[in-house]
């Protein structure tokens, strides 16, 4: 493989640190970049300075240039505002997906090309494999850490310019590699939450940015069984925190934003034979009619399904996919299509 000019998105975490190190060691001309996405003057006064600092220090240790790009305007427009709006519409958004779509593999990739880079690399646990003239998007080697699900929107032109160097390693191998290189991020804990909201503060965050009407909690027959303080606090499929005392397990089966009504029911009421998708995209060509594996949560267990138009038909009935969540379709280890549940 000949040396290429690669821009590595470095979050300040261990995965992207090792991604940069691996590419450097393969002889590529590597430059690191950290994105400032959130935290204006109204918040902490600046970006997440310690993460940027970690990325910068790792880059210095690796002897590669490092820059910070301020994409906060785009992040607010394409990720944060739609996130808030989705909750007020009764759906359950995945902001990491929109960040990948609009920011990392949108604005950043565009800028990388403008700056003359051949490739963009990130620390995602996924693999891009060449298959003849086509590129396949495969699960990362470490199935527990696989992130292909949040990358479902990547198509051929993007995959042709993208590398995921740590997708070939397990998380333990990544950390070992970082430790061997003496990188300061080797033992850094993983970020698990939505990056722009402090842990446990989602309701307050949304409440500060949108009107979230209170309303009734009803059963599947339409009888009022309780009240709630805002539909944004509920997700289809949710079981805990319904604020309704009943004899048996109850789940949120529907959220009607227009009437600010949350419907609860039994697990059977939640089961559906299919899910309809928007933003449907294909990694390459539309898959043939053969059975696929559907994954409907970041680390959810895949189950058998077929794609028919924009509809994913489940082999066996499944709990309803919360509107706004990603449905990714796999052929074995390869992600072939995906979309957002309606």
């Amino acid at each position: 493989m000949s040396a290429e000019r690669v821009l590595v998105a470095m979050s300040g975490g261990v995965d992207s640190s090792v991604a940069a190190a691996l590419l450097r060691d393969q002889g590529h001309d590597v430059t690191g970049v950290t994105l400032k996405l959130w935290g204006g003057e109204s918040d902490s006064g600046c970006c997440s300075v310690s993460d940027v600092e970690d990325a910068r220090r790792v880059a210095a240790q690796l002897g590669i240039p490092h820059y910070v790009f301020n994409l906060a305007d785009d992040f607010t427009r394409h990720v944060v505002d739609p996130y808030v709006e989705a909750f007020t519409n009764g759906s359950t958004p995945n902001p990491c997906v929109e960040c990948n779509r609009a920011i990392k593999f949108g604005r950043l990739l565009e800028r990388a090309q403008a700056l003359g880079f051949d490739r963009l690399a990130t620390g995602h646990h996924a693999r891009v494999q060449r298959d003849g003239d086509a590129y396949r998007l495969c699960r990362g080697v470490d199935s527990a850490k696989d992130q292909s699900y949040v990358l479902y929107m990547l198509g051929q032109p993007t995959l042709a310019r993208t590398w995921f160097p740590v997708g070939e390693l397990t998380k333990a191998e990544v950390r070992a590699r970082a430790a061997a290189l003496g990188l300061r991020t080797a033992d850094k804990p993983e970020s698990m939450d939505v990056c722009f909201i402090q842990r446990g503060q989602r309701t307050a965050f949304i409440g500060a940015r949108a009107n979230t009407a209170s309303g009734a909690v009803v059963d599947t027959a339409g009888a009022v069984v309780g009240h709630h303080d805002g539909i944004d606090r509920f997700t289809v499929g949710q079981r805990r925190g319904l604020g309704v005392a009943t004899g048996e397990r109850r789940y949120v089966v529907d959220i009607d934003a227009a009437r600010a009504t949350v419907t609860i029911g039994s697990r059977t009421d939640l089961l559906r034979p299919f899910v309809e998708l928007r933003e449907l995209s294909f990694v390459d060509a539309r898959p043939s009619g053969a059975p696929l594996l559907a994954q409907v949560r970041a680390h959810g267990e895949p189950f058998e399904a077929n794609l028919d138009g924009t509809r994913v038909i489940f082999a066996a009935r499944q709990p309803r996919v919360a509107p706004g969540q990603v449905v990714a379709l796999y052929d074995g280890e390869s992600l072939v299509a995906g979309g957002i549940a309606i």
């Binding site: 950290t34 400032k36 003057e41 600046c46 970006c47 997440s48 300075v49 940027v52 600092e53 910068r56 240039p65 820059y67 910070v68 790009f69 301020n70 305007d73 565009e110 800028r111 090309q113 403008a114 700056l115 003359g116």
Partner: protein, 385 residues
């Protein structure tokens, strides 16, 4: 090619030489009584006398601080709090395009209940005096207006502003952030009119971490940092002797060559700005050049993201800046250009090239080659700002 002198300058050799003995040999604490302490104390006071003389002040009017931001904080918060304590008013007036050292201090005062007025600038980069006049009343306690804007380099009408304040708010204290003025203007003219004047050594060939606030006469100030009572009780803490000595040396060298440097650099700057405006289609200039200090060229290139342009220039070894810097190293959209009414897209396409005593014809030649090429590369990639 270093074209970011408004961010920081290289140290002048005179300043390096002056501070060296106080890093190694003369390490005494100037607050002590023995001979080692006395040597340090004498050097500190000599530096104070020299800085005072060069700024047109009395030695007792110089308060050494850790830099321009601290001097701004001491001036704005210190004067406002002292005024409120003594019943001399509590109104605070400043401009939207001030340095963050002033703006954040004013924000803090507002949280503490001080009434605040922030005035705009015009498209040329000059503070709106009619808004200033309308903001002043008998309750006004502090007016803070910079002498030279740090982003667009425009020289502000401080004389006229001070006249307005004296006329309408006779009790008000006037502070001017002169941090960007020292290499270009005789700051003594500001000292003659304002009550408080802030400077920072690393903007004129001195080291980082040292600055001063000129506190004229008996201007009442509440200290921010309290302790051993150094700096007449206005800034406690062991004095930065090496820094003060180096700042004095840098200021001496700056004042000695200021007229010659300014006219030489103005020619370089004009060659750079005119050259780029001629060579790059759809380029524009921010701020009225006739009212700028000699080192500032603030130029925009429509359809180009300044952040991307700076990366291409950095790769080629040309260092410039955009917006105001942030502790992360990201650039924030410029609050200065926003205050001037520059559209956001234009602001995000704008770059500050700031020249200084170390700038040469070769720097300008290189920039005239590199910038048009980089702009063309980004435009052909079609990444719109």
């Amino acid at each position: 090619m270093y074209l970011d002198h408004a961010a920081s300058t290289p140290m002048r050799p005179e300043a390096v030489d002056a501070m060296e003995p106080f890093l190694a040999m003369e390490f005494g604490n100037p607050s002590g009584g023995h001979r080692a302490a006395q040597a340090a104390k004498n050097a500190l006071e000599e530096a104070r006398e020299e800085v005072a003389e060069l700024l047109g002040a009395m030695p007792a009017e110089i308060v050494f601080t850790a830099g321009g931001t601290e001097a701004d904080n001491l001036a704005v918060k210190g004067a406002a709090r002292a005024a409120r304590s003594s019943g001399a008013g509590d109104g605070v007036v400043t401009a939207r395009f001030e340095h963050k050292g002033v703006l954040a201090s004013v924000d803090r005062l507002e949280l503490d209940g001080f009434p605040v007025t922030r005035i705009d600038a015009d498209a040329d980069g000059i503070v709106a005096l009619e808004q200033l006049a309308a903001s002043l009343d008998a309750r006004t306690a502090v007016v803070s207006l910079m002498l030279v804007n740090n982003e667009v380099g425009t020289i502000q009408p401080l004389d006229r502003a001070v006249e307005l304040v004296r006329e309408r708010s006779p009790r008000a204290v006037v502070h001017t952030d002169a941090v960007q003025a020292v290499p270009w203007l005789d700051v003594a003219t500001a000292t003659a009119r304002a009550d408080l004047v802030a400077i920072s050594a690393h903007k004129f060939g001195g080291p980082k971490g040292i600055g001063a606030l000129v506190v004229r006469g008996a201007t009442p100030l509440e200290p921010l940092v309290e302790g051993g009572g150094q700096e007449r009780g206005l800034r406690s803490g062991t004095s930065n002797v090496a820094g003060a000595v180096a700042m004095a040396a840098a200021l001496r060298a700056t004042v000695a060559s200021r007229a010659v440097d300014a006219s030489r650099i103005a020619r370089l700057r004009d060659r750079l700005a005119d050259g780029l405006l001629a060579a790059v289609p759809d380029a524009f200039e921010n701020g009225d050049r006739r009212r700028k200090v000699a080192g500032n060229a603030h130029l925009g290139f429509r359809g180009v993201e300044a952040e991307a342009l700076l990366v291409l220039l950095d790769v080629e070894g040309l260092f410039a800046a955009a917006g105001s810097s942030c502790s992360s190293g990201a650039s924030e959209p410029s609050h200065v250009l926003e205050a001037m009414g520059v559209p956001r897209a234009d602001a995000l396409s704008s770059v500050r090239f700031s020249l200084g005593f170390a700038s040469t014809d070769a720097d300008v030649d290189a920039a005239l080659q590199l910038v048009p090429r980089a702009v063309a590369q980004l435009r052909s990639a079609g990444v719109a700002a």
